[in-house]
Symmetry: D2
Subunit: 429 residues, 4 copies
Amino acid sequence: MNPIPHSQSSVEATDWCSLRDRLTATRAATEALVADLSPEDQNLQSMPEASPAKWHRAHTSWFFETFVLAEHLPDYGVFHPAFAELFNSYYNGVGRQHPRPQRALLSRPSAKAVTDYRRHVDAAMKALFERANPELAAALTPLIELGIAHEQQHQELILTDLKHAFSHNPLAPPVGQSPQAGPATTADPGWQRFSGGIHEIGARGESFCFDNETPRHRVLLNQDYELAERPVTVREYADFMADGGYEEPLLWLSDGWSWVQQHSVRAPLYWRFEDERWQTFMLSGWREPDPDAPVCHISFYEAAAYAAWAGARLPTEVEWEIAAHDVEIQGQFADSGRYHPEPVKRGVGLHGLFGSVWEWTASNYAPYPGFAPAAGAVGEYNGKFMANQMVLRGGSCATPAGHIRPSYRNFFYPPDRWQFSGLRLARDA
Amino acid sequence: MNPIPHSQSSVEATDWCSLRDRLTATRAATEALVADLSPEDQNLQSMPEASPAKWHRAHTSWFFETFVLAEHLPDYGVFHPAFAELFNSYYNGVGRQHPRPQRALLSRPSAKAVTDYRRHVDAAMKALFERANPELAAALTPLIELGIAHEQQHQELILTDLKHAFSHNPLAPPVGQSPQAGPATTADPGWQRFSGGIHEIGARGESFCFDNETPRHRVLLNQDYELAERPVTVREYADFMADGGYEEPLLWLSDGWSWVQQHSVRAPLYWRFEDERWQTFMLSGWREPDPDAPVCHISFYEAAAYAAWAGARLPTEVEWEIAAHDVEIQGQFADSGRYHPEPVKRGVGLHGLFGSVWEWTASNYAPYPGFAPAAGAVGEYNGKFMANQMVLRGGSCATPAGHIRPSYRNFFYPPDRWQFSGLRLARDA
Amino acid sequence: MNPIPHSQSSVEATDWCSLRDRLTATRAATEALVADLSPEDQNLQSMPEASPAKWHRAHTSWFFETFVLAEHLPDYGVFHPAFAELFNSYYNGVGRQHPRPQRALLSRPSAKAVTDYRRHVDAAMKALFERANPELAAALTPLIELGIAHEQQHQELILTDLKHAFSHNPLAPPVGQSPQAGPATTADPGWQRFSGGIHEIGARGESFCFDNETPRHRVLLNQDYELAERPVTVREYADFMADGGYEEPLLWLSDGWSWVQQHSVRAPLYWRFEDERWQTFMLSGWREPDPDAPVCHISFYEAAAYAAWAGARLPTEVEWEIAAHDVEIQGQFADSGRYHPEPVKRGVGLHGLFGSVWEWTASNYAPYPGFAPAAGAVGEYNGKFMANQMVLRGGSCATPAGHIRPSYRNFFYPPDRWQFSGLRLARDA
Amino acid sequence: MNPIPHSQSSVEATDWCSLRDRLTATRAATEALVADLSPEDQNLQSMPEASPAKWHRAHTSWFFETFVLAEHLPDYGVFHPAFAELFNSYYNGVGRQHPRPQRALLSRPSAKAVTDYRRHVDAAMKALFERANPELAAALTPLIELGIAHEQQHQELILTDLKHAFSHNPLAPPVGQSPQAGPATTADPGWQRFSGGIHEIGARGESFCFDNETPRHRVLLNQDYELAERPVTVREYADFMADGGYEEPLLWLSDGWSWVQQHSVRAPLYWRFEDERWQTFMLSGWREPDPDAPVCHISFYEAAAYAAWAGARLPTEVEWEIAAHDVEIQGQFADSGRYHPEPVKRGVGLHGLFGSVWEWTASNYAPYPGFAPAAGAVGEYNGKFMANQMVLRGGSCATPAGHIRPSYRNFFYPPDRWQFSGLRLARDA
């Protein structure tokens, strides 16, 4: 992966062992997520953008098989020849792909067979770790790091895709624990000021990152700015709704207003008005939303309209990253086992920046100056999606702990809502 | 069910026992069909018109629960309150329905839970059979007969829906045995002549029938006619294709030609041209079609275009039924375990009339003169579908033996192809 | 045109002159319809099923040019070579067609150029009438009759297509006169009884007919029946609406209920609820509908649902035609200049049978027994549309006087509403 | 228009006269464009994104009526009350809008009535110019400047929309003159180098600009870069096609590849392969494209794929604008009367930067830092479109001379092709 950092000529044995342990832990975490799911649960696909949990489990294994084992482990035996096509997501460089909207038609291989597939790959990776000399270890480290990060991304998708599917079934079982109550929020979010001028953003090259976070580069902000100290809450968003936010075209981007009209949008995804009150679907079931929790499952259009209504705007990803430089990476992540955002704890400065909800930014997903996709087939990982999508920052309650960093760039299309997506306000100072 | 026959005031004990045994056998036959299917296999839905096997299994149980047990078995306990909506297909008279295109989203209840549901219903039906006095037995007999026939229809759909889903997966397991070779067909199908004039069609009232086969009534044919002695074969249909049948608009109905253009249709469903030859998908796998077997998986439009090309026409359902009156009901049915049409055995007169392939007729699906839907909620069974569909006759290799009769009317939309649908030629004498 | 009648070996001079005069009058009537339309008005196309008035004017001329002049007038000079494709509607037998949904993109030829085209064709037809010897005259008479009838059909479409387009523009000019009030209707429509048994229907062969009305043949009705003496009125239909007709699924055919749900249908086409009352769009403008006038602009689905609500049914086309045999062909036709149905005058027996509104029947549009399409390219006129459509009978207020007859079969798709379509109730005696 | 420049407290009389003269000339230029169009030509709309010429003529008048005359000319009489809705494009702040895809249904008002409307507005504007005191003149100048620029934008759309519509009609008349041949291009485009570091972009405030060009602000480029000295030619693009550019997924953005597959794109818009060679539709008719002319009518996706194939990239809008600062604004504009790009003349430095073809940039259309939409209803002019679109720079052969400037930002959706859109390559130095 060029230009991913630290592709040194050799690697310390302790680092190599540490990498092996992280891989083992990541693979196990995936399996833990689906431990209570039935074979049918694991095969659900409720829209073309989402995938079955079983498919995620197989695809993340295919990734190691295709990019690591097949090329670097002598005598590696491919588990099943058909899997090359069935579990390729979008890598045209390594062959054809089973059509994405038809992933739920793969009743075979079974969930059990995918477990066998995972074990086969895990055993081969274990052998690779044992056999690799320091030079090979050094060469493979970036690729295995990528495979781990990739699998973590799919862990989050397993949760969000499952949530979408389960929302259609009154008999869906609870997944994870219910969110806990938290401190009451104040009416004023509090604002923190940041200086304009020249800054640097992008990955520093000290540890793993995706190619889309590179190269680190200078940016120039024309003026000082302020960020709200916490994300927008359910209470605030409900005020926007009560004030007719969804009926006032002047608050919306033109495409956003068309989207509202076409889909009769009147609330965030997973909200329903029943028995005279709003209820929301969480992975743990239907319940009344906590007014102090960050609002989530809103589209970029809704985020932008809310910001306009509030007399503010969305931060750019540059503004967000500069502000995040000195913030400790802590918050509500998937390891909490509570897959719904809880009220963020108030501290000094920005809070809820990491975890809880992804925060829509005003920035479209574009290459950084001097960006070059990683070499080889994994070059399709990020670069080819740099059109029509917007950047989200900070991770969510469904993001694996340890996966996020200040320079991390997530991206979705403006109307997408099935991720745990919320917003934080910004304004010119 | 008015006007279904023999709703006598009481029923013989032996008839009642016989009905119970037929019910037991039918319920067991459904379960036998899915014995080798995994839970994921049972939950496949590859298009809105098809349903998962698990759903078929639950829906047929819901039918007995809703129309028989809930009303007629004192103290019957509904298995699960949510099932009333989840497994209602289209009966508005008894409540809401889960959206049809989302049946595959029902990972819960599991296949195992549906097995429990079936056992619960079976046990209750057993209790009902034991407790019913002769008057109740007489009253319920038509409804239970309907439930049996209904379940048989869904047995056929389990096979055709599964075939459609499995056709999308290279790892699909074989279902049933491979078709066997049969006698070679002659170039001339042979023609049998029938007299015009006044005839009677419709159910005779001697045994169970659907309401759409009633009332029996007189029809007048203006002229004598002939029917081909066997269905059109793969070889003949391949000649039509080779002769440019799919490129010649003058052979097609206007809607048919639009359909061909819009979907780029060039062959029957499940045909692909690979390795320089045509292959077809059967439930037992991909193989070269037998040229002597009846062609199947064609739409009404294709059937009509083929007939025009052959200088003939499709028979009306009246012509078909008159011809079928004296034909013995034998042929290739689902009990063969070979779910693909085989070459029909040549005998005296019409052959392959029953079983093998459903035969498209020139008749739209309309009420017979004096038709009245059955009373009550089951009145939605047939009548409301009497628009836009065409009648097919004779059953197929996926139809349960004993299910079919000369007056039986099946119906599908003109473009539908996923049933085992073929054709038999007719012409004016 | 086989089997169109009276293709004698020669024709009387007076008949030939009479035919010429009828052609001249028909051609002039087309032009009179568009006399007050601007060039832009003439080029409107508001949906793929409708065509611009200018296109209708050119296409009807193309018909004579292609089927009569090009083949039978020596030295006939085609007006413009591009017109062969631009103004071919659907005759694959004579070449390609400009895409139907793009007819409004033909700003050229201009309305003026189409007028020139019409004059060119008219002059050539005049020459043909002068030069043809009796044998040719006899041979051409059926084709010219067909051309006249064809042009009359397009006169009706000019009105209905224009109405659809003008309904979208608040500045649309009035077309024709306003409908006049008529006699109040009684609550009971009155019923007339007809005998079952054997009858004959189809064209008698005494004058021109379309091929779809042939051959005349015997039909057998299993029982006596009754027809309402007048069409269903606006008042009656409003009662159906007020009684929740559009919300009760049990009244509807399954496809009809889907159509209602998908399009949120709550009233006939061209009805809007504004200022606390229903208004309807007529060619003469928006006004309150006359409660005593026949309801119109309803689909087959709405007609069938209304009949179910009223405890009756739609007549079959056989029942309708038998009843029409002895009814004088009079009523409100397009020559009234008032293109909206008025209350029908009460007389003895059936009234409003001809003119006012087309009456949906329960019969799908299918070939009569022994039907063969006309020979040659005009064989595409009717036969290829015999799928998915329903028969309507009797003509409307937009039908040219003299165009209709008891055996006349019109046909549209079940959801179509932009014709002046209403219904008359039937019931078993 | 805040923050549009030079809204001084009063204005010189000569400036006020000059403004009046420019308005008069602009209004006349619009009328000249449609002088040879028939009423039907003026009413064509071939896709929802395009509008009829007549509608453009009326809408640009509505703009002056609504934003200038109705508010600032005492006793101004609105020409027709219905026009407020019919000719409002997308300004929710001033009321409802006639549905955009139905603009061609407005046969009324006629082309003649729209001419009257234009004269009415022109006369009122003339009166306003005469009566306004210096304070009002100063206040209105920015708005009238905006109206002029707005009308110029619609002049370009009249041409591009008409081209799209005429491309569907073999009888379309030629519009404008044929393009002229030009100098042969060299294989190497030549490259010019520009320095990175801190620059300023955005309107300087010395003359009229749109709000989206403001505020002028500093930008920081991380490295030096090079721009090709001329746009990509037809010859070069044909090489890309011949080399399989449309079949190689690795060259394309992911959304671009989906677009290619879904629409079977194989060439730029208006290209057809006939008689063994490529032909292109120009406003002057179908002819072989000049290999030395800039390629046009390509989407952003095609531009990006071509650049990837060529081993280069698209310039950002910042890079483009910096390079354009010192380039004289000359080139092929609409005043040439030849509405198709001709080979650009080679000179010193960048050529063909202005006119000929709009150049796709790598920049999405986003607000500049500190951007605030203009106050009042015209605030909907630009800002609400800042999502999902990409910036194009430099104007085209259909842009009115004098309309363009270095800071000018045009914007379209990535798949849009009906503008005269091409590309210029960039690369890191």
